[in-house]
Amino acid sequence: MIKSELKYSKDHEWVLVEGNKAKIGISDHAQDALGDVVFVELPEEGDEVTANESFGTVESVKAVSDVYSPVSGKVVEVNEALLDSPELINSDPYGEGWMIVVELDDASQLDGLMSAEEYEAFLKEEE
């Protein structure tokens, strides 16, 4: 499942842009590839994240995966619910499974991301 209003990175994160803020999570494809998510490590509010660098970790029963930030900026919100209920990433990756909200340093970084159509084509290519 791909949501049309979101932008996507090649590392399978999604971004929802609202003004100068970006909400970030991992795509449905990414959660499906991981399997049951049982642990999440996230930055804290006030931390700085850098585009294309890891800001957190998602662990399924079998695998440990870094989560890369599609944009640079300051973390202004963290989805604390994931710490106790990491399975929300499986059940609702685009909704309750969101991970952080970042205040954008440079909105032009969004231009490098894929549209829903582009991401769909990217997934087909990756198969």
Binding site: G35, D36, F39, E41, T57, E59, S60, V61, K62, L83
Partner: protein, 363 residues
């Protein structure tokens, strides 16, 4: 890369929507519906595993017992026909070539079931150490399919398909009988910590039996992949070669002394090294760890005490049955007491953990 080996069920796994992985050169299902769901099915109802990749090696001849007594750690003379014994093939150093099950078929004939990725190595190891014994060593793996049906409902499901009275087949015993009209070896064994059976059949009959068992189990059974197999065996503290056992870890360090018959008459390979290790004091020990702070221990992570490295994690996972983050670790025996607080280095951070009793799960 060489092409992956396939079990007779390869197409069936794909049709069931399994995620496939390379497991020691075999193309195997790691999960179907999800590891936690599959794990829970085995703990509460039943699960079906394709274990056709396991190796089967037959040893027969008038010196079969004598030869095995030389090769394996346990005292094979103690088992009766249709009884099964857990065993270890050791190196002269006391390290481990493989762990295996020895099935006594009759006097002078045994069936060895070994780990898939070690089958060729084990077969060669056995052949290399055959001296003047009158014994034949046959690798039957390519013609033998194997399905494990595990869980509290395993017996009732399998009973509907066989003329054998399964209640008569006790733990670590086996028999031969028809399953859905196919002659099979049926053993009450498994690698999950639950009751259950392993059914060995002709390679070409494996699909028929798999489908029949799934159909008969209905809502009470799920196909289960290697992911759930690993979490299940881990909770029950059953060792996995390459993790709790290996060429650099002795069975005494792995806590498997009860399968090492140092008192048996024959000199098995590795016996003198293991005897010496026992006398000198076993330097390392496999222990169970429970994380006190947030984090999942994973194989290879360093275990520390007061900042000093004392060992490493051999297997670690979220435990679906206990809803805890747990690990098995091989550590310096001096720190192995239950209740001790240690730390696991997770992504450059030392995370608190405590040594706890094992197995983590007991049915």
């Amino acid at each position: 890369m060489a092409e992956l080996k396939k079990t007779p069920l390869n197409e069936v796994h794909r049709a069931l929507g399994a995620k496939m992985v390379d497991f020691g050169g075999w193309d195997m299902p790691v999960q179907y519906s999800g590891i936690i769901e599959e794990h829970t099915a085995v703990r509460t109802k039943a699960g079906l595993f394709d274990v056709s990749h396991m190796g089967e090696i037959r040893v027969k001849g008038t010196d079969a017992l004598k030869f095995l007594q030389k090769m394996v750690s346990n005292d094979v003379s103690r088992i009766k026909t249709y009884q099964i014994q857990y065993n270890i093939l050791c190196l002269p150093t006391g390290g481990v070539v493989d762990d295996l099950l020895v099935h006594k078929e009759r006097d002078n004939e045994y069936l060895l079931v070994v780990n898939a990725s070690n089958t060729d190595k084990d077969f060669k190891w056995l052949l290399e150490h055959k001296e003047d014994e009158n014994v034949e060593i046959i690798n039957e793996s390519p013609k033998t399919g194997q399905i494990a049906i595990q869980g509290p409902l395993a017996e009732s499901i399998l009973q509907k398909l066989t003329d054998v009275n399964l209640a008569d087949v006790k733990f670590y015993r086996y028999t031969y009988g028809q399953v859905d009209g196919v002659k099979c070896l049926i053993s009450r064994t498994g690698y999950t910590g639950e009751d259950g059976f392993e059914v060995y059949c002709p390679w070409e009959k494996t699909v028929q039996l798999w489908n029949k068992m799934l159909e008969t189990g209905g809502d009470n059974i799920l196909p289960c992949g290697l992911g759930a197999r690993d979490t299940l065996r881990f909770e029950a503290k059953m060792p996995l070669y390459g993790h709790e056992l290996g060429e650099e870890i002795t069975p005494l360090e792995a806590g498997l002394a009860r399968f090492v018959a140092l008192d048996k008459e024959e000199d098995f390979i590795g016996k003198s090294a293991l005897k010496a290790q026992k006398e000198a004091g076993i330097p390392r020990k496999i222990v169970g760890l429970e994380m006190l702070d947030r984090g999942i221990p994973r194989a290879g992570y360093t275990v520390k005490k007061d900042g000093k490295e004392i060992g490493f994690i051999t297997t670690g996972s979220y435990s679906p049955s206990l809803d805890k983050n747990l690990g098995l670790a091989l550590i310096d025996a001096a720190y192995a007491d239950i209740g001790n607080e240690v730390a696991v280095a997770i992504r450059n951070k030392d995370v608190k953990a405590q040594i706890v009793p094992t197995p983590f799960y007991k049915r």
